[in-house]
Symmetry: C2
Subunit: 413 residues, 2 copies
């Protein structure tokens, strides 16, 4: 299959993106589709209908994932699955998740029009949930398919209004056996196209990226207890200043991450101090540390060394230190054979690309520990995501769809 510029493809993509972006549209021109909300139901129903219009055989599963199937002529009991998620954060953008769903639908329907039925069965999917924006849980869609979650988990999780995931699901008719079980045993592989949510492709004037890994992540809460005291009458030598200790830790951990120069990122995004009064020495400080890398030993060694340094600083400043690691996720490697094929295809097609690590979490990390999985990025303008300002040029979206078509063609025809 040759790589061709196709004006109608761009038009189709633009039309579909804008169509879906109207469902759950906010007054800021953003999109809010929280799991099992009215706008979410409207979107999944519209997706199902659209799949059918596009020649796919569509169905819900029992947690609300929507699949559009093209039966293979030779292999029917194993499925090539491709898509992304339909839910959004509050006031999010039109591309995060949605593009991967629509790209899969467009690619499969175009392949079918052009080449007829594939040898291997392909399903496109609009996963019900990835963002974790309504319930204190993420990846409900991919997690239900792969067995990470059971239906019974739904009774344990609530939203901000104390509605359980189970009740929300039941209200829309899911979770009660009216649809086929979410759990699948027939997935041969998973392919996901997504916006980058970073600035690397745009900065480097690249159009596309096969993803080699989804980073591992450690997230911690650091609590320091010193002593509050009068800012004027307490000599420097006697102080137990929790913010002074914290500032040394933050300055060190971020500075050391910069020096690593190996893709490791460390962020302190949250801080609070007590009593937070200008003329009182802070007696307590709490801050959040988020560290990510695609190799677990690099991530783990960095954190071990930094936490040891935190202990030394705490001792020097006579503040008590409490470290709570509440997230410790290993990196997930995408399937190297699939990824290498995608690299070869991009090179052959003359697409400017680079292999990248995903610094954000995606459904592909759930599938990645369950079946061979490949992920592809298109650029994000200014790296903005989770915002109404999220934007990707139509040329880049078209490249994403064309590459997915090439990949599916090679795999399924």
């Amino acid at each position: 299959m040759a790589f061709r510029t196709s004006a109608p493809l761009k038009e189709e993509i633009a039309e579909r993106i804008n169509w879906l972006g109207l469902i759950g549209r906010t007054e800021n021109d953003g999109v809010t589709r929280l799991l099992y909300s009215e706008s979410w139901m409207e979107a999944q129903s519209a997706i199902k209908k659209k799949m059918e219009e596009m020649g796919l055989s569509a169905r819900f599963d029992d947690v609300g994932n929507v699949f559009g199937r093209v039966e293979g002529t030779e292999e029917r009991d194993r499925v090539i699955l491709t898509g992304s998620h339909i839910d959004t954060v509050v006031d999010g953008g039109k591309y995060d998740g949605a593009f991967g769903v629509l790209a899969a639908m467009i690619a499969v329907s175009r392949l079918q029009q052009e080449y007829g039925a594939p040898k291997k069965t392909i399903e496109t999917v609009a996963l019900c949930e990835e963002e974790g924006s309504r319930f204190h849980l993420a990846f409900w869609g991919s997690g239900s398919i792969t067995g990470r979650y059971q239906l019974s988990d739904a009774s344990k999780v609530t939203d901000g209004q104390d509605v359980t995931l189970e009740d929300a699901m039941h209200q829309l008719g899911f979770g009660q056996g009216a649809y086929p079980l979410a759990r699948r045993e027939d997935i041969a592989c998973f392919l996901e196209t997504h916006i980058e949510q970073g600035q690397i492709l745009e900065h480097e004037h690249l159009a596309w990226a096969p993803v080699s890994h989804i980073v591992g992540m450690k997230r911690m809460i650091i609590r320091l207890s010193g002593e509050s005291n009068h800012a004027g009458t307490t000599p420097m030598a006697g102080r137990r200043d929790a913010l002074y200790a914290a500032s040394q830790m933050i300055s060190d951990v971020v500075g050391h991450a910069k020096m690593q120069n190996n893709g490791l990122v460390a962020t302190v995004g949250q801080i609070s101090i007590q009593p937070n009064v200008g003329n009182v020495i802070p007696g307590a400080c709490t801050f959040a540390l988020d560290v990510r890398h695609h190799e677990y030993d690099v991530l783990h060694d960095f954190c071990t060394k930094e936490l040891e340094n935190f202990r030394l600083i705490a001792e020097k400043e006579a503040v008590a230190l409490d470290i709570k690691t509440w997230l410790d996720d290993a990196p997930v490697k995408m399937d190297p054979v699939m990824t290498q094929r995608h690299v070869d295809l991009a090179r052959k097609a003359g697409i400017p690309f680079k292999k990248m690590v995903s610094g954000a979490g995606h459904d592909s990390q759930i599938f990645g520990v369950y079946c061979p999985t490949a992920m592809m990025f298109v650029p994000s303008h200014d790296g903005i995501s989770h915002s109404p300002k999220e934007f990707t040029k139509i040329e880049d979206l078209a490249t994403g769809v064309r590459m997915l078509m090439k990949i599916l063609h090679e795999m399924a025809y």
Copy 2:
């Protein structure tokens, strides 16, 4: 006059402290007497009555300061003024301000009982306001006596309920000419006894301190603007992390203050960041800097160097920097001749003492630029002040009163 231990003096001090501490008492066993409140009026009226019972000729002035006068036999047109303030912070202690008022009353009445009328006129004073706890203004009592403030300033200042200082004053009958003007031209000198509000005397097992200076103070608000971004998808190199920049500044300025080892203190007591979400790089950070020293050139040079360092850090981290200095008070030197006499008296009496700098603000800094002024500290247990836990041992309070008696005896008899 010999230094004597006097059991009845301790009893009198304890009785008076507890008596005044009941006026405006809170449920936490603290004291709240905000300027021109009901409890404040009750306290000043009770003080006036008590002064009269103790043989002093008592009166209000037109802003609510209360004076108790003992006429001198030789000098009547110049007054030795001694006392402190009667107001408190919300839920403050029984000693801050109150002890200086009561110590003056007890010392003068005892001197009168023992030695009769002084040669020089002495007045004790319960200043109406020092804390700045109700209105956005401090030192209303001493400032009105010394000319720092005019009555007309009272219309420009409001409390948290938008009541003007003027209205609050009028409600109690002050500020309308019913009492003598607050402004005085006959103050020969001012003497104030106060709790230290720090831990130095207690840590060094000392009982008393003549104060050489009240520190100068610069207070600033530092605002940093960088760029918020995804904590996972933004490489370290491209970040404009406002908290990382701030942490370097805080770590540097506090660390450099420690290294000075010359009594300079620097405190960052307040900080906030935006958006303050664990997985988002902070795009903005605001923090408060409080720097104090008793020599203005030391204070000024330190701040100049540190702000220059802030600029370099901001440039390196590509964050915009805005510095607002909202307080720039020069240090006030207490009268060196008076202070030296007090040192000599303490040495002669065998009192364990050291000359100290006051790191907190006091009425003495207002009098100190207007007339010869001396200030004396007694210890604060654990350095605690502005709290119901404020406490000074009765032995230390008695030493404070005895030293004031010696000083007044030497000056006025």
